[in-house]
Each structure stands twice: as structure tokens, then as C-alpha cells.
Symmetry: C2
Subunit: 353 residues, 2 copies
């Protein structure tokens, strides 16, 4: 007798680079994916290319990814919540305002840290999230089941989940993404202005300058929305950065080689510690954590792991032998088990050995 | 009867990434290359790897490349001028002080715009300069023969020559290399400081941040020397950059989308105009320019071309049919011929059609 397996279903709203890549990977993994996009013909094209299975929203989909520009997220997330019964998540670069606005517990904010020089559906790549960090921003109201599903699907897309509050996300992402982007643009326009003095200036640009300004070649639209939505954190980070540059200027001007060397050594060391894309844990150990009877426990475990910089892989919730309370099972690098256990105990969890 | 071809000879002082790559390419092209390096054993290793032919300085070498750290250049260039009869050039990142100090007409300053993530002799790569810009900084005292030889050898290494005054070089290189480097380091240390607040910050860094901070991973030593030698231009450029960032901060804070869009569009357009590595001219035309009887004429042709942003390829000096005065023959993209001719006539040259 053949075993009948029900095909898993997802919706993807917005078939650009990120939405297209999510859909492509899910279809590749055997999911049925409904897609929609405001651009006429784009969904048909995605169907033609085998990136999505059907047009429209499937009301019974387990999960709906909303992958539209930042300022359209609120409306599209609300529409998806109204039209479907499953979990809804998004992929926007700013999380605070959206997460505060959408009060529905079926919604969880998300932000996969992956991109490509290619734009739109043409850049859609099922391997885009392989080893990437996928940020989720659960709140204290997020049910374990919602967090667990979003995590499991992000893992299936090849990503590692990092759980942060929406506020932490916005404050931190300004440092590693928004301000670097604006800096690249400022550097590029400075060089462009100077090239009016000497036409060959840009012919002097070698690999370092190209690397630094690469992100300045993306389309402005997305960034206008981001700067509006995350203005406060961006301005605060720019202030810190400007102070850093003024310090540096003083160090160079004073010919303070020792001070400059300290800065450059710190930067070099920090750069070398930048984590590589995590493909698999080297020496993983299973930690079983009974989930207490309070909302948002699974998300709390992940948020704590993020504070401890512990990478959790293969999260799942199983049922304990003793009763119907769930047990979270996570895989952790063996050298980090005690760090995680210490934190869990301090936060009122009872992790097993 | 066999034709006897005399083997061309060069010296390379300093067998790091740049010196090693120069030597490797010349040996590959059939030159005999003498090498020397202060690190014990490095020259032997280079000989073992076939990157140089012999140890020491060949007094009869046509050209000597001095590829040592910026602050050691003056001494090594003087030593090379004393020990050899040929042209001496260097590859340092700052040109003004060196060019002012070395009064010998056999010396011409140089700076190839190429690098690698690999360091030292292990990074030596005969293709490193393929399509790269090689800056030469002739003075009004530089004889045509010296400029012509340095240009021809840079071309043989695969590079395109850009001629600038040493002062222009230092002012412009601060914009496309020195300040970007210091900016990358400042951004990296800012992220590192912020990661003390939240341990997972650096796990949020995706490709854009990695690109922007890549150059912060180089060794500080070189950069301490550069900051000392080019302090004035670096401080002036940092000032401009800081003003640019303060403007930007105001634009974001005021939610001035139109202003921000102008900046981002200008940056995007400038980035897309960044010249790619030139491999060959698409549709090249020969321009013949009789060299007037005044010193430094060949260098003046190139310096003018740089001001006009005209790329000259395949420069050579031939003798005219009418007499013993030289004729410079350059290859130019056909669309740029009239621009170059206009400039040449204005500067007192008599270019042919």
C-alpha cells in the first residue's frame, strides 16, 4: 500500500529576488507554492520558470511570505492574514514599526540576511539562503507553534535562525547594513565630485574601492523606504560613525602612529572574526529543553541564544514521555552547551544534560 | 644561421606581492630577472619557484623595480640608482615626497593599482596587472627615453599607463584608496564596539558589510607609513568625507526623500561609470605625434591624456622619415581621437591625422 504524503503549501507575495528565491527553494523541496506579484505578467513568468506552482493566495497554506518593499509591508501582511489561516511572515529590512502595527499572533517578523547583485525574479536562486542568517523577531505574544514553524521553514531554506526583538534588530541592522550602504554612496559621490577636478580619478580605483562602493549600485527606492522607516537608528549610528571618523582624522593629523595602529589592528582582528556562512555545526550536541507553560517560550530560547551568540540548529518541538507538554530539541556546537545551559537556567528553563 | 636575441634584464628589489608579481610576469615573458629581498631566504624561495632568475642586482639591467614599504623607498631607490645604469622606478602608494627627494633623471615614480587578498610572495601572480592601471609620475626633467621604457614595460606587464604629477597622484589616491581604507577600518571597529552590546551583531553582517570591510583585513604596517607620508591629502579628504556624512545625516533626519534620492542616484550612476579593467581597446586608431625638441615631451602627452581621460595604449617612439627627431605613436579609442588631438594642439604638439 502506498503511503500518501500531503504536499506542504506556502504562499509568496512579491516575486522579486528574495520572494523568488524562497519560492524556488520551496518548490525544489517538494512544496506547492502559490505566488502573487503586482507587476503584470511576473507571476506567469515565475510559473513558466517553475519557480511557483500557482497564482494567487492559497487560504490553507501553512505559511505566507510577504516579500514586498518596506512601506507596502503593512498592507500586504494584513491582506495575507485576512486571506489565509496559516502563519504570515515578511522579509523586510526594518522591523519595529511593522511588528508594532500588526497585532496578530499569527504574524512573525523576519529578515533574511542575503542578497545578490542580480535584481528581481532574474536573480531568484534556490541556494540564496544557504548558510545565511535569517532573523526572526518574535514578540512575547508569539505562540511557540508560530515561531517553531517559521524557524523550521527558514532552516529548510538553508538558513540559520537568529531571534531578536524588533527593536534590537533595527538598532543593530543600522550598523551592519543601513549605515554601510549610505557610507558607500557618500564615498562614491565624493569620488565623483573629485573626478570633476581630474577626469582620470576613477581610472585609479582598484579592487578595494570597487568592493567598498559595490552596494552603492543598488536601486535607490528600497533605501528611501528604509531610511524613513529606520530613521532614528540610522541617525544615531551615523552620529557614532562621524565621531569615529573625526577621531581618526585627529589621529592621522597628529601623526599618532601608535593610536592609528591600535585602530587598524582592532579593525583587522574584528574583520577576521566576522563569522563565515555557517553550513553545518562541526561537533553538534543535542540539548532538550522542556517548554514551560507560558507563551513565547520557544522564541525566548532563541532570543537568549542570540544574546549569548550561540548558534542553534535543527530546532524542533517534541512531546515529552511524561505528558503533553512540549520539549524543545536544539542542536548546539559542543563547546557552547554549558554557556547555553547557564543562560537557560538563569531565565527559568530546566534544560536536560 | 640562428638569430641571436639578447635577453632583456630587470632587477626587482623587494619580493612581496607586487615585486613578486612583476618578477613572475617578466620571467614568463623571457626576461632575466635579478631579485633581492631583506627577508632571509625569500629570494632563494623565489628562485626555487622560478619567479626570479638570480639573486642580487644586475648593474646592466634596463630597469629596476623597487617594491619595498613606503618609508624604505628613498634608501632603496638611491641604492638602486647607485648600483645600476638603467631606469629605476618604484611601486609605492605615495609619490610626492619620494619624487621630490630623488633628483636623478633615471628615476620615475610608479604605482600599479592592483592588489590581492594574498600577501607576500605567496600571492605573486604574473596576471596581477592584467588590465590594471599603472600610474607613472614623470616630472618635467624626466627624459622621453625613461618615460618610454617604463611605459613599455608596464604595458608588457599587462597594465595601462596613466601619467600624473606626483602631487595629483597623492591628492587623488587619498580619495580612491587611502580614505576608503580608513573608512573600512572605522566601520569595522564601530561594529565591533556595538557587538559588545549584542553578541550576535556580527552574525547579521551579510555580503554588503563584508565587501565594505574587506580591505580592513590588511596588515596595519603599510597603512601607518601611508598615513604619515600622505597625511595632508588624507586629512583634507577625510574632512570632505565627514562633511558629506554630516549632510547625509541631516537629509535622513529631516526625512528629505528627494535629497536622499538625488544622492543615491548620483552614487549609483557614478558606480556604474567606474571603468572596468581595460583589456583591449575596442576600435583603436593610431595617432602619430612628432616629439618636439624639449625634455619630457612623451610624459606630457600622457599627462595630457590623463587630464582628458583618454586611454593610451601601445605607446612607442619611432623615428620619422624626415630626420632623427622621434615620433610618438599611440593607440587611442577611435571616439577619443579628436579630443586628444584638440588637447595636443593646444599644448603645442602637431599630431598627425
Amino acid at each position: 500500500m502506498a503511503t500518501v504524503t500531503t504536499q506542504r503549501c506556502a504562499n509568496v507575495v512579491g516575486l522579486g529576488l528574495i520572494g523568488g528565491s524562497i519560492a524556488a527553494r520551496l518548490v525544489e523541496s517538494g512544496w506547492r507554492v502559490h505566488g502573487s506579484d503586482p507587476h503584470p505578467g511576473r507571476c506567469d513568468l515565475a510559473i513558466e520558470r517553475g519557480i511557483v506552482s500557482d497564482a494567487g493566495l492559497n487560504p490553507d497554506a501553512e505559511i505566507t511570505f510577504v516579500a514586498v518593499p518596506v512601506l507596502q509591508l503593512r498592507g500586504e501582511v494584513a491582506a495575507a492574514l485576512a486571506a489565509t489561516k496559516g502563519v504570515v511572515t515578511d522579509v523586510g529590512s526594518v522591523k519595529g514599526p511593522l511588528v508594532a502595527d500588526v497585532a496578530d499572533p499569527r504574524f512573525i517578523g523576519g529578515h533574511p540576511m542575503a542578497g545578490s547583485e542580480l535584481d528581481g525574479l532574474d536573480g531568484a536562486d534556490p541556494t540564496l539562503f544557504e548558510g545565511a542568517t535569517w532573523i526572526l523577531t518574535p514578540t512575547s505574544e508569539t505562540p511557540d507553534s508560530v515561531f517553531a514553524l517559521a524557524t523550521a521553514v527558514a532552516n529548510q531554506l538553508g538558513a540559520n535562525v537568529l531571534a531578536l526583538s524588533a527593536e534590537d534588530h533595527d538598532r543593530l541592522i543600522a550598523v551592519v547594513s543601513h549605515v554601510p550602504h549610505l557610507t558607500a554612496a557618500t564615498l562614491m559621490t565624493l569620488a565623483d565630485r573629485r573626478s570633476e577636478e581630474h577626469a582620470s580619478l576613477l581610472r585609479m580605483a582598484a579592487g578595494g574601492f570597487r568592493d567598498m562602493t559595490r552596494i552603492a549600485s543598488s536601486k535607490p527606492g528600497l533605501w528611501l523606504d528604509i531610511c524613513r522607516a529606520n530613521r532614528e537608528a540610522i541617525v544615531a549610528t551615523l552620529d557614532d560613525f562621524i565621531v569615529g571618523l573625526i577621531d581618526l582624522r585627529g589621529t592621522v593629523d597628529a601623526d599618532d602612529s601608535a593610536g592609528l595602529e591600535r585602530l587598524l589592528l582592532r579593525a583587522r582582528e574584528a574583520r577576521s572574526n566576522l563569522p563565515a556562512r555557517v553550513r553545518s555545526l562541526e561537533d553538534a550536541v543535542e540539548v532538550r529543553i522542556p517548554i514551560p507553560d507560558r507563551p513565547g517560550s520557544a522564541a525566548q530560547i532563541f532570543t537568549l541564544a542570540a544574546e549569548l551568540n550561540v548558534n542553534l540548529a535543527n530546532f524542533e518541538v517534541v512531546h515529552s514521555a511524561e505528558g503533553d507538554r512540549g520539549v524543545a530539541v536544539v542542536l548546539v556546537e559542543s563547546g557552547q552547551v554549558e554557556l547555553l545551559r547557564g543562560g537557560l537556567i538563569a531565565r527559568g528553563f530546566k534544560p536536560g544534560r
